[in-house]
Amino acid sequence: MAMAMVRSGLRTALRSRTPAAAPKRNYSSSAGHDDARETAKWEKITYLGIATCTVLAVVNLSKGHPHHEEPPRYDYLHIRNKEFPWGPDGLFETKQHH
């Protein structure tokens, strides 16, 4: 009798434990935040990033690019063990002619 009561009690407890609706999946990015507000925030951060990069680009490009001196011909520089299929120069070496 006692066992039957315990068993039925357990069954009721277990039944009430089964969730009526599965908990909604929480994406890491939406946990506890209002997505509309987050959208606006990240839009501003993006604009800030673009502004920073634009300023950096203007400063940098207005300086002009540096010219380097030709280094001595050390044998570990300009290594050529075999021909390139497309010709004598490496892909980014055409500048050495001008």
Binding site: D35, T39, I45, T52, P66, Y76, P85
Partner: protein
């Protein structure tokens, strides 16, 4: 068929793409080796292999979009597959790039006598890290901010904003690749200049290649967002692209600090 299905799993149809992709990879590898050594027909086999792989990628992903977006096979439980698959993929990419960083550290921490016992090697011209490298470094994190903007816009159901955000992501990525090309063009050394040139070009070049892949990935997500494929609840492809993009922009920070700055001064 779908009405009578009593489980939430996707039982895939037989597909020719795994074997066509494998054959393409085989032709690419053999053709690539032939091309780099004096064998006739190497370039042809390499091109055929690459065309085969690109074709397989196109039709395979086309099929996945049909199965997920149009036929509804990607239930919550099926979405776990590509999610869990993305994690080891990105981890393997981290390990790949780690090896390139390690190659650079190995050669620079104890420079050999053959290169003058110093790093950068004697006589080699290096880029000033305060110029284009410094300019190019904040561009990718800004693009990462734009992809987060897109993510929140998708979750908030703001479809148009999400498209704009993805356009911003892609534009910033293209600017970054443009500056990288400019940097290579102006660089005083190339891949054939000592171990410095090799490790520098391998690390920055493979990173640039990953930027290009991430850009394509974001372009595809932008098009799919424009077409209304991505919803609040279902945007696994976009999430994979966002994870990949964050991985690429974090690598750029390490690249700047360890290879351009520490390794270049």
């Amino acid at each position: 068929m779908i009405e009578s299905q009593r489980h939430s799993f996707h039982l895939v149809d037989p597909s020719p793409w795994p074997i066509s992709g494998s054959l393409g990879a085989l032709a690419t590898t053999v053709g690539g080796v032939m091309y780099m050594h004096p064998f006739q027909g190497g370039a042809t086999l390499l091109s055929l292999g690459i065309i085969f792989i690109l074709y397989t990628m196109f039709v395979w992903w086309r099929d996945v979009i049909r199965e997920s977006t149009l036929e509804g096979h990607h239930t919550k439980v099926v979405q776990l597959g590509p999610r869990y698959g993305s994690i080891p993929f990105i981890v393997s990419e981290v390990m790949f790039l780690f090896a390139l960083f390690r190659a650079s550290s190995h050669s620079s921490l104890a420079p050999t006598v053959e290169i003058g016992g110093i790093w950068p090697p004697k006589g080699i011209g290096v880029l000033d890290p305060r110029e284009i490298p410094f300019l190019n470094t904040p561009i990718l994190p800004s693009s990462g901010a734009a992809v987060t903007w897109a993510h929140h816009a998708i979750l908030a159901g703001k479809e148009k904003r999400a498209v704009y955000a993805l356009v911003a992501t892609v534009l910033l990525a293209l600017v970054s690749t443009g500056f990288q090309g400019m940097e290579y063009y102006q660089a005083p050394s190339t891949i054939s200049d000592s171990i410095y040139g090799s490790t520098f070009s391998l690390a920055t070049g493979f990173h640039g290649f990953h930027v290009i892949i991430g850009t394509l990935f974001s372009i595809i997500c932008g098009i799919r967002q424009y077409l209304g494929h991505l919803t609040k609840e279902h945007h696994v492809g976009f999430e994979a692209a966002a994870w990949y993009w964050h991985f690429v922009d974090v690598v750029r920070l390490f690249l700047f600090v360890s290879i351009y700055w520490w390794g270049g001064i």
